[in-house]
Symmetry: C2
Subunit: 460 residues, 2 copies
Amino acid sequence: MPISQILPQLKSLFGDRMTTNAGVLESHGRDEGSLPSAAPDAVVFVHTTDEVSQVAKLCHGTGVPIVAFGAGTSLEGHIAAPQGGVCIDFTQMNKVICVHEADMDAVVQPGITRKTLNAHLRDTGLFFPVDPGADATIGGMCATRASGTSTVRYGSMKDNVLALEVVLADGRIVKTANRARKSAAGYDLTRLMIGSEGTLGLITAVTVKLHPIPETVTAAICPFPRVEDAVDCVITAIQTGIPMARMELLDALSMKAVNQYSQLNYAQAPTLFLEFEGSSVAVAEQVEMVQAIAAEHGGTDFQWATQSEDRARLWAARHNLYYAGLALRPGCRALTTDVCVPISNLAECIHRTHQAFEASALTGLILGHVGDGNFHTLILFDPDDAQERQEVERLGADIVAQALALDGTCTGEHGIGMGKTKYLTAELGEPAVDAMALIKAALDPTHILNPGKIIPTAPK
Amino acid sequence: MPISQILPQLKSLFGDRMTTNAGVLESHGRDEGSLPSAAPDAVVFVHTTDEVSQVAKLCHGTGVPIVAFGAGTSLEGHIAAPQGGVCIDFTQMNKVICVHEADMDAVVQPGITRKTLNAHLRDTGLFFPVDPGADATIGGMCATRASGTSTVRYGSMKDNVLALEVVLADGRIVKTANRARKSAAGYDLTRLMIGSEGTLGLITAVTVKLHPIPETVTAAICPFPRVEDAVDCVITAIQTGIPMARMELLDALSMKAVNQYSQLNYAQAPTLFLEFEGSSVAVAEQVEMVQAIAAEHGGTDFQWATQSEDRARLWAARHNLYYAGLALRPGCRALTTDVCVPISNLAECIHRTHQAFEASALTGLILGHVGDGNFHTLILFDPDDAQERQEVERLGADIVAQALALDGTCTGEHGIGMGKTKYLTAELGEPAVDAMALIKAALDPTHILNPGKIIPTAPK
């Protein structure tokens, strides 16, 4: 059904908070990835769960698609509206509802970003740890099962959410759990919704776990002769039980890009970015142990950043890598892909990826959340050159195929969206994808929630 | 359809591994809880995934119920067969398929018990941490989303399983994930199956996370003036970021029972059982910090157990509490209930529970995984006395009602089974329970998988 039939109702519900302005529509159909954008037909800026429920009821009755929108920082076309419909923008539904300091949790609206939440928490001595790089919204991070640099220590969104409030496709409001730290009461609707990318429900409140801000934090970088040496160092550190806070790997070309972009002069070698945290005694012990382990693998040239400004500079270099990579070739865009393998296969997977880059005319950089076996590539290409677009596609598919062959996943943290639906069956098999399609059909029988994402087809 | 119609096929598939012996049937319909037992019509002892798939296909086609059986240690009637049918006994499907030391994971068959798995792992320096007390099977622990004394440090089954192989109701075999440490590839079928109590699928392989055996482990007990003091000590320790390995609370009557049963002479006061682990430096620091925190809350009389035998004795006293409690009143049985609340509400919830016991003719003991806000009660009753049975029911319902009123759950770790289906809607509301029923109907349309558990009715 064309959206025009529900526009009057949307207008009367939202007034000025509903728009069909072309510029606004366009900006809501484009994420930070390299897939083509697709604008919705209307955008509503919601303030309450009840409003979300009313939009769902309208769309459920008429078959109009709904796409949820947070910060727009996803990478696999999650927020594109290929079938048009209503975009629900959650950015004005961004309050902290409640902080429970003794329980170390907070209830927030989905549109709050992680940095705003952490700023709000500063005086409590607590923080929310999941850090995907981008200043994404908490709701969006739930929807994509986000993780990032701190996941090796604190886990991903699936580990840091206690409960959700979710509006189903038909407008009913579901509480997935309460604030108890654990529960064995029925199916885990919380985890089912986390990572469902807006295809099973619309997240309207999130109860997140918080953690104590550590007493001491120290960071360091250390170059290694080869990627394998860096990875072996990480494996040994983890097996030794050292609770590292962050363990990031940048390959030699990434270090070159960082140096050029940020006017630094780090060694152009595979390099670990490490962070240690805890009590001062515990950090001192961790530092000593990791230095000894690194030395066994040829990593001896540690550069330390103990002061908070030095750490900020070090991590800024890491977090700016996307822009540093783009600057290697002015005017280019980058395909940011994302795979994750068992850590014992990580060096091999990176090695095969480097070989694929060497055999290609395109340039690729590798950076990884190495403690989790997760890495990204930035493959630089000219978006106006059809041959390069084809080559970058081929390389992306090749990297995924290598990861799957090494018992890995086609996405460690970016999600399936539209960009990776083609890999899901190769990864998990037809029965698993069909089980997902059955669940999708059960909870969203008219297929209005973010159509075309994860499960683009009906169950068999 | 009566099972008699598929018995010949089961016989030809399983030969001597299929039985209708009355004693075997009876023992497969009874768990360790206090609910009435209900025997299946036949038991098959499976060896392979393919056999499980064949049983499912037979039952799916004929509407015969299937109940999965592991160690039989569940407490809420999970393994009862109120509609008869086939019990699939997994205890002979109990191999370690593969241990990946570098990746710190293992792939196991579902019938292996946690103690057998840990004995197998001993030489690797790794262990599987989830400890529900009973020597349950890994498959059963997945099915009930088990947790226990070490969950405050290592999480529950949902946090310690990377992937499952599951046979669906129609016999199709699903791989829920691969061995990558994290994935954002589609719906989290792993977590959906964990805690589904055999109602959505039959678990035929489990990839578990392993952890390094800590260098140093030290345990202690410390009595406190009041339950509130012990809980406040725990809250402060957690907020301080001390990574405690175990934090258990026993109330004064539990300590009396422990003393009598194990010939000990601990103080008859609310007591914390604590365990510290890590490097020797880290443990020494944790011990010092926790002693200082405990002293602020009136806990000064620490008794330490550093040697492995002393620790074993200390934890045996805790783990034997069920029998110690029963011994307080020879011939009685115990209702073991299980609730979990936000930790800031824990002292209040325990206080209300103690008040309920004081107002009752029955005796109740309280013990808790206090770091998680989870506690159990043992309420002693005479199973042959109808009035006592009624009173124990009333008390159990009252404790759940208190927990729900304090933003908690009707079960932290024992699950819903048949015993707690009546509380699920009160806890999560009708839309949530209906969403569960929709998922159940989608994946098991003929309702053959463990009927009567979690979701006893069809969706609205």
